[in-house]
């Protein structure tokens, strides 16, 4: 079975995020005064094959620990859903 895994990498709360501060200042300048906290992170989307959601989740967590995030500064969150095949449906050849 194929799953779509969405991994969101964010800076740990204790790590200062100058990008987030700059984005917040920009939003305030545009009049979005209601914004109090902005953190900028990364989004990684993957198609992953596996037997079950739990086994795929374990594998993706392993990928996060080994490569996708730096444990010194980053946290991660994994979202999984069954993959949807978006390739075009083959049409019958013209007779």
């Amino acid at each position: 079975m194929r799953y779509t895994a969405e991994v969101v990498i964010s800076l740990k709360p204790v790590v200062n995020d100058p990008q987030g501060l700059t984005v917040r200042a920009g939003l305030h300048q545009l009049g979005f005064a209601e914004v109090s906290e902005v953190r900028v992170g990364k989004h990684i989307s993957m198609e992953v094959d596996g037997d079950s959601e739990s086994s795929v989740r374990r594998r993706v967590a392993d990928m996060c620990e080994k490569l996708l995030r730096n444990p010194v500064i980053e946290d991660y969150r994994i979202e999984l859903r069954p993959s949807v095949d978006l390739s075009p449906t083959p049409t019958a050849p013209p007779a």
């Binding site: 800076l11 204790v14 790590v15 200062n16 100058p18 990008q19 700059t22 490569l67 996708l68 730096n70 010194v72 500064i73």
Partner: protein, 237 residues
């Protein structure tokens, strides 16, 4: 002696490092990232650049290069490893040094002369320096803000493993003038065994008076002395 200079796809300072070694009258050899052979190097330099395009994070992919397995073994056996700029980032990702290097607080790529106070001369990389002396060595990076948790920082300080700190020209605390906003103005640190140094500034770009400063040569000269005297550490075969 022989300096091995690592070359990853995207490394750009290997030529300058080779030149610095040559100025001192020593030999250098390029170490290709796909090879595990350190070719009898007495010291391995991981130079600056953008190894593997710095994709994902700086140094994150370079860490898995076959060459890095040999560098890990070399360092574990006490061999001298000098990581400059991108090399420092790779050493942190490879867990040869603690902490991480993140986007400069200014969000700018900074390319300018910085002044570094030598915080310890008790390393193979700074033995030729004066304690509290100030070196003029340029930086050239967008992600050099050193961060680590407070206990790691305290430990680095307690063990005298902060090699260099950004300071003002006269040696006083730099405050807001730090080029990248590093915690405690840290510019370079050594490993627990003191045989691995990571630093963001480029000593190879301060290698001859013609370049505006030859202060960087203290670091290369220190390595040469340390290897010659084989003191306080064991060089890997």
């Amino acid at each position: 002696m022989r300096f091995g200079i690592a070359v990853f796809p995207g490394t750009w300072s290997d030529g300058d490092c080779a030149r610095a070694v040559e100025v001192l009258g020593h030999q250098s050899v390029r170490l290709w990232h796909r090879d595990g052979d350190l070719q009898g190097s007495d010291c391995v330099i991981l130079p600056g650049g953008f190894a593997y395009g710095d994709h994902l994070r700086t140094g994150a992919v370079a860490r898995f290069a076959p060459l890095m397995d040999s560098v890990q073994e070399f360092a574990a056996a006490g061999g001298l490893v000098l990581g400059i700029c991108n090399g420092f980032q790779i050493l942190c990702e490879a867990h040869l040094l603690p902490g991480a290097l993140t986007r400069n607080a200014s969000l700018e790529f900074r390319c300018e002369t910085t002044w570094l106070r030598v915080e310890t001369v008790d390393t193979p990389f700074t033995r030729d320096c004066e304690r509290d002396g100030v070196l003029a060595i340029p930086v050239s990076h967008g992600e050099g803000r050193f961060v680590a948790d407070p206990s790691t920082l305290d430990r680095l300080e307690a063990e005298h493993r902060v090699a260099f700190r950004y300071v003002a020209r006269d040696g006083s605390a730099v405050g807001e003038a730090s080029p990248n906003g590093s915690m405690r103005d840290i510019a370079g640190i050594v490993s627990e065994g003191r045989n691995v140094l990571g630093m963001m500034p480029h000593p190879e770009r301060a290698a001859e008076p013609l370049l505006g400063s030859d202060d960087g040569m203290h670091i290369f000269r220190s390595v040469v002395e340390a290897v010659a005297k084989r003191t306080a550490f064991t060089v890997a075969p």
